[in-house]
Amino acid sequence: MKILGWLAIALLLAPFGYAVWISFSPDTFLTPPTGSWSLRWYVEFGENRRWSAALVRSLTTALGASLVAVSFGTPLAYAVARHRFRGRRIVASIAIAPALVPPAVLGMGLLPFLFVVDLWGSPIGLILAHGLLGLPVVLLIVRSSLDGQSPDIELAARGLGASPWQVARRVTLPLIRPAILAGALAAFVGSLNEGLVSLFLATPSTETLPAVVWPQLRHAASPLVAVASTISAFAAALACWGVAAFGHAARKPGPKHRGEGN
């Protein structure tokens, strides 16, 4: 039973491992390196302006999308978790909608929409689209973190004379910071690997990695495809590590906080 479970997990990892393995191939074809391993395609990736530009664009889009998702999603999560107001449930369901709309429909709809609002060919279009997709995730994570914390702490701060803004900055935000970081991370990784809306919205001047990978997969695939995936997965892992390290550092009381008690 135990072996079977771990075996199933290993099976789920196989396609991922296979793609990483292929990326070290010395051949022109997408075959795993059997004899010698080579970094040839990584060098090629770095030297090919189209691929490296797409990687940079993917990373900046993901960063922008995660900022959009967090800055719009966090206040919403706070409103839904801490206030009872008319339309609360509707507002919460509307924000989940982007996760339920089929991405092909979203892409097909955003395509003419971005034309009309004159954002076609601008990176802002894709950043907004990916921010939209990240919003439900941020809402879920931050809301459940707020639900898990007693509102009494905030009330106490208010009672002791703090303004609502001070409470938000000094009490609520530090408490939910791990959740906000987790939400930002999820939105970042989601955007980095989102391959369908990106496909619909790509123009030659704004193409992200999936848009470059796509024709390759359909026609002549080279190990560059595998390299692209390995590098973007590595970037995602790096972001995770960064967030974890940052969260860890933030938890230690800094010298600034120490003297404040008196």
Binding site: L12, P15, A79, P103, V116, L132
Partner: protein, 276 residues
């Protein structure tokens, strides 16, 4: 009543409504336009129901039925894989649980396109699986058909379903199972009477999400299916990008939303029927 919650909720709500409603209105309008004449993607200013007629002819309705069935297939296969896996992960120690969940979610750090490409290579005619079967006899074709498409799309959804189900299971007080066992219930009885009823809300939710995502499937059918295995999403991409027929693609997008909503209505009906 304070204005504060409205001020906090307004930016996100406006963003979502604007970015969903605006495109939705345009999709409806374009779906009622005539096909492009020469250059352009549609003929502006025209009104016609022609696109809806085209996508609901015999071939079109078959595509809708196939898309719907594909979504149900994805949901069933997702639950069949994710639920046992979630039970296994739930039974582990806290450390093991975190490790196993992390490994299940690890593929989600890679691009879906490339994951499915890896899967295609593994399942393909020259891949290791077919090669292994070939030592015993003629291997069945595992890709370029509905089977491949189903495996591919399910593969993308399973990690989320596992996450959701483990989350649901971890809210169950493990002492209840121990108590039942102590009171003489067999392992099966403890599962059937305690774990299973507790899991059903999670199973419904995971199943519904998998069905909706399966109905909107694009990457699975596109990369692991054959040319004949076109779901609505695959066909609308083809219409828009290969043929430049935006009106037809827009009409198909609306049909796709309708199909997804139909699946949710069916699921809600099933839930009520099970509860009664």
């Amino acid at each position: 009543m304070s204005r504060r919650p409205y001020l906090l909720a307004a930016p996100a709500t406006l963003l979502v409504v604007g970015l969903l409603l605006g495109p939705a209105i345009l999709l409806v309008r374009i779906s009622l336009c005539a096909a492009p004449q020469g250059r352009g993607f549609f003929t502006p200013g025209t009104w016609t129901l022609e696109n809806y007629r085209t996508i609901t002819d015999a071939d079109g309705l078959q595509r809708v039925a196939e898309t719907f069935a594909f979504g149900l297939g994805v949901a069933a296969l997702t639950l069949a894989i994710a639920y046992p896996l979630a039970l296994f992960i739930w039974s582990l120690s806290p450390t093991g649980r975190r490790l196993a969940l992390g490994l299940v979610l690890l593929p989600k750090f890679a691009n879906g396109l490339v994951l499915l490409f890896g899967l295609q290579q593994l399942l393909g005619p020259v891949g290791p699986i077919s090669q292994a079967i070939a030592t015993f006899g003629e291997p069945p074709l595992l890709t370029r058909n509905w089977f491949g498409a189903l495996i591919g799309e399910t593969y993308l959804i399973v990690p989320y379903a596992v996450l959701l189900l483990v989350e649901q299971l971890s809210r169950l007080d493990a002492n209840l199972v121990l108590a039942a066992r102590g009171l003489g219930a067999s392992r099966w009885q403890a599962f059937r009477r305690i774990v299973w009823p507790h899991s059903t809300p999670g199973l419904w939710l995971a199943g519904e999400l998998a069905a909706i995502w399966g109905i909107g499937a694009f990457l699975g059918p596109m990369i692991l299916g054959g040319p004949a295995n076109a779901t609505l999403a695959v066909d609308l991409h083809r219409q828009a990008f290969d043929y430049g027929r935006w009106p037809r693609a827009a009409a198909e997008a609306i049909l796709l939303i309708g199909t997804a909503i139909l699946a949710l209505i069916v699921a809600a009906g099933l839930r009520r029927w099970r509860a009664a």
